[in-house]
Symmetry: C2
Subunit: 152 residues, 2 copies
Amino acid sequence: MKDTDQLTVAEVAKRSGFAASALRFYEREGLLTAHRTGGGQRRYERHVLRRLAFIRAARHVGLSLDEIRDALATLPESRTPTKADWARISRGWRSRLDAEITALTTLRDGLESCIGCGCLSLQRCAISNPDDTAARFGSGALYLPQPLREDH
Amino acid sequence: MKDTDQLTVAEVAKRSGFAASALRFYEREGLLTAHRTGGGQRRYERHVLRRLAFIRAARHVGLSLDEIRDALATLPESRTPTKADWARISRGWRSRLDAEITALTTLRDGLESCIGCGCLSLQRCAISNPDDTAARFGSGALYLPQPLREDH
DNA sequence: CTGCAAGTTAAAGTTGACTTCAGGTCAAGC
DNA sequence: GCTTGACCTGAAGTCAACTTTAACTTGCAG
């Protein structure tokens, strides 16, 4: 009879929606930990599911794995994280999303007066001009999803 | 004395904001064309600048190079594209941006009632649950920027 | 006519987030 | 005790959109 508190990779994969290969990858990257059986197979504790839920949500908001690892690193090691812990480390997400929404809205509205008329001038077009673009998104929006970040 | 209608890579790079390597890449990928000197060097016509402005704008809105190539392919070859041509092929961008904005707004508002409280339940959390996520973004938003697309 | 900045190519490298593969090992039900 | 599906590892592959490198050629000012 299996220890009900120990989950195999397949079980965690199924319940979290992440592929087993992704779970192993996250462990290598320091986002997850697992115990091992005598033979070296992974056995996960139930709380990795919550950690994975956090990872999925964070990815969804646009955080990189590096940022997620840093956030997870601020969780206390001595005890099981509380709701307050999770709430704390996701507190900044709202303003991040707000900024993304603002940037997209500005872009959309610029579209009306620029692309809509077919001008697309390199000198004047607010949508295509690199400088205008940089000015619009500025340094305050470094966390925009890749396609919205300034071209590099 | 140089032919004033023929631009070198360096000139196009400077005036478009794209790196010379990107211009060569775009040509290989079929997004751009150039004439050649007897010795094999590229000479661009002035209208590539408008084409590049379009490419930058499209990338900004979140189109892939494949999509951009397809869009550019619908331009008439027999004549210089008019404003109406450019306007036509960028007509869908607004709804695309609208959809992205809607998706982000929904995500942000879900955040308030979900992450805000620290629940982050794999079963119930609208932000982290893969199924809810798929349902929210649906098939109508396949063009969302990568970080917002459904996890694969 | 020469010097050298600017151009050319094919091929390989980059980044992030994983997946796939090859070649074995483990564990659990019969 | 044996079979077989699940698991292990390290290394390599994938994708997009370019950039970088190496080795070589062109074009124009002086």
